[in-house]
């Protein structure tokens, strides 16, 4: 069934369908509508969950951690400053291998303060041990919420998952969304039954410390779980496809890449605009293509390599920057190509920070750069307004 609803509402309904036992969240723009809608669902008796109105995001994640260790299915949502405040607990939850699911309504980080979208917040939690999957539209974000529980709770994985969706651009956008039928979700996502959980009959100790004889091995296992997710994510996606008739493929989605000469890689909602641009260019006879990076961690090295094999050039859009270096995706894509003799030329573009819109003509310009092998100036900052800078091109 399809309905036109706000993105946040779609997430709230997906959370309801996943039947979490415990929700703990703290409001922050632009995540607020999600948790408000969930609160209403609980108030109306449509969702039977404990909602803990915590006093901070640090506690939101801590409540989820305690609840998850006790055997509950848990949910939270946050963004930006809230995600940064959770930082310490994120690593802890992943290391304790607790399958918490969180929506990140992606937003820029302060200072200067910005409530608008980019990917700096979740990218900055890259090494936390969480799986990060980025949605292109609200149906995908909703569907991913259900899949995320399957992935996180899979005995081969047991790590938490962030479903990343662009703040405002998705969370506050009304568009038709494929609703999830509860009976189908119940079939697809059985109740959470962990092997180990806090209980008085088998009183185990959770969260012990590891000396140098053990620490590495626990880190290794955690890493292996994320590596294993490379196979599990597509598998669960296709299972989901069988039940719901919507399969998003695997870790990446290739769009008109088959005979492409030039490809741009991007994440999140902007991929839709990119696909339209590719269509336009194709109409003009340019053999353009797009790659949607769905899974940022684990990073799909092999998929990227084979998708880019034989290409002339590739561009990478980063809605984030590792200050003092370059965009995070740009680094990862180049590293993935390191062993390939005929690796395409790579161009890094930083754009869309702090909510700056990326229109089609921007992508056209990027394709132009790639095709004409132009030097990328200004450290890759592609949508810089040089008029408001005391500017010298670098």
């Amino acid at each position: 069934m399809r309905a036109i609803i706000e993105g946040s509402r779609a997430i709230a309904l997906a959370v309801k369908a996943a039947r979490p036992n415990v929700v703990a969240a703290y409001p922050i723009t632009p995540q607020t509508h999600i948790v408000e809608d969930i609160s209403q669902l609980i108030a109306d008796g449509d969702l039977d969950a404990q909602y803990v109105k915590v006093e901070s995001e640090h506690s939101a994640m801590s409540v989820c951690l305690g609840a998850s260790a006790t055997g509950a299915r848990t949910y939270t949502a946050t963004t930006s400053q809230g995600l940064a405040l959770m930082h310490e607990v994120l690593f802890n939850a992943a290391g304790m291998r607790l399958p918490i699911v969180m929506t990140v309504a992606n937003r820029a980080l302060s200072a200067p303060l910005s409530i608008w979208n980019d990917h700096q917040d979740s990218i900055s939690e890259r090494d936390s041990g969480w799986i990060q999957i980025y949605a292109e539209d609200n149906t995908e974000a909703s569907d991913l919420t259900i899949q995320a529980y399957r992935i996180a709770e899979d005995s081969r994985i047991q790590v938490p998952v962030m479903v990343c969706m662009d703040g405002y651009t998705l969370t506050h956008t009304y568009e038709p969304v494929e609703l999830l039928e509860q009976d189908l979700v119940d079939d697809f996502l059985p109740p959470y039954r962990p092997a180990d959980f806090l209980n008085v009959n088998d009183p185990k100790s959770f969260g012990m410390f590891a000396d140098p004889n053990y620490y590495t091995e626990f880190r290794y296992q955690n890493h292996r779980a994320l590596e294993a997710a490379k196979a599990v994510i597509p598998q669960i996606s296709s299972e989901f496809g069988e039940v719901f008739d919507r399969d998003y493929g695997g870790l990446i989605e290739e769009y008109r890449c088959d005979d492409a000469e030039y490809v741009l890689i991007a994440m999140g909602s902007v991929v839709g605009t990119l696909k339209d641009t590719v269509d336009d260019l194709r109409d003009d006879g340019v053999r353009a293509g797009a790659i949607k990076l769905r899974s940022y961690r684990p990073f799909p090295v092999d998929e990227i390599r084979s998708a880019l094999a034989g290409l002339e050039a590739v561009g990478i859009l980063d809605k984030n920057i590792s200050l003092g270096f370059e965009g995070a995706l740009f680094t990862d894509v180049k590293a993935s190509l390191y062993h390939d003799d005929n690796a395409p030329k790579a161009f890094g573009f930083i754009a869309g920070l702090g909510g700056r819109d990326i229109p089609k003509r921007m992508f056209v310009k990027m394709f132009d750069c790639i095709r004409e092998d132009k030097k990328i100036s200004n450290s890759g900052f592609f949508d810089l307004n040089t008029q408001i800078l005391d500017f010298q091109e670098v």
Binding site: G66, A69, S205
Partner: protein, 309 residues
């Protein structure tokens, strides 16, 4: 030979833990768990008690136990409590926090306030060894006036910690919770009774247990209990309950000891007996002790009771 009945204490904190010999905090935990029995979930904050009991793969805990971080034990406990409710397991056991004074009165304050205000059915217990012991005896908000610690050392221009202990029980009580109590490892029966009351109330309870640390405070390991009792007998550690907002059952001190008796046995106060001006500082501490006894008696609406063990 006849079969013999060996009755170990109900040692829910198993032997083999790595606390220093004579550790007052470890003894506090033994005492807490004897009072609660096995049906508790313990959320522990980072600190001495966590470190001495949980070096993988050896755990000293015989009750379900979780440690996450330094400042979030109250939030983790909140999570356990709501999970038990949501899963229909709330009759399985009571959720108890065991946290140090640093994890409580300093870095954990926000999470504790949230937990108390939200009314979780959790008994929060702070073992108060009056400094950050795990990291080497640095000052906390619960370090007493004039105690020399590694970050509040005495020196030519310092008598040690220049602030009195934060009144955390009053802060807890200000949340309008049903039960707040202070007790001491030197009074095991009082401790047991208060722990039992704390876990019996529905909703949040807050306990603060004075737990001398011979290593940080600098006294002979055999004297842990003696020092704990002296703190009470001098009026430097008050034992009372705040039930539904009313201060009750203040433990009476029949023969108040001079504070010197307490101070002189501890290295953290030794400078007061050597430095010029130290005498005046001891006088200030004596005044504080006197004030404590006055104040708690004066405001007690129900009366007092004799010291008992």
């Amino acid at each position: 030979m006849q079969a013999q009945e060996a009755e170990r204490p109900i040692d829910l904190l198993a032997s083999g833990h790595r606390a220093c010999a004579g550790c007052g905090a470890a003894l506090t935990i033994q005492a807490i768990l004897r009072a609660t029995g096995a049906n508790v979930f313990v959320a522990n904050s980072t600190g001495c008690m966590e470190i001495i009991s949980s070096q993988y793969p050896q755990s000293a805990w015989k009750v379900p136990w979780i440690h996450s971080l330094f400042e979030n034990a109250a939030a983790v406990a909140s999570g356990i409590e709501v999970a038990l409710k949501a899963l229909g397991r709330d009759d399985e056991g009571k959720v108890v926090v065991i946290a140090g004074d640093g994890g409580t009165v300093d870095i954990g304050m926000q999470a504790i306030s949230g937990m108390l205000e939200r009314g979780h059915d959790v008994c929060y217990i702070c073992y108060d060894n009056e400094a950050y012991m795990n990291t080497g005896n640095q000052r906390s908000g619960s370090t007493p006036f004039d105690a020399s610690t590694t970050t509040s050392p005495f020196g030519k221009k310092s008598f040690g910690n220049d602030r009195p202990k934060k009144n955390m029980p009053a802060i807890a009580a200000a949340h309008g919770i049903a039960y707040v109590a202070t007790t001491s490892v030197g009074y095991p029966r009082d401790l047991a009774k208060k722990v039992q009351k704390g876990i019996a109330v529905r909703g949040p309870a807050y306990l603060q247990i004075h737990a001398p640390c011979n290593v940080g405070w600098g006294f002979d390991s055999a004297k842990t209990i003696e020092i704990a009792r002296l703190a009470v007998e001098t009026g430097l550690w008050m034992m009372y309950e705040i039930v539904d907002g009313e201060l009750v059952n203040v433990m009476k001190v029949p023969r108040q000891q001079p504070v010197e008796e307490y101070l002189k046995q501890q290295r953290r106060f030794a400078h007061l007996f050597k430095m010029p001006g130290g005498e005046a500082q001891i006088k200030l501490i004596q005044d504080a002790a006197n004030y404590n006894l006055e104040r708690y008696k004066a405001v007690s609406p129900v009366g007092t009771r004799e010291i008992q063990t």
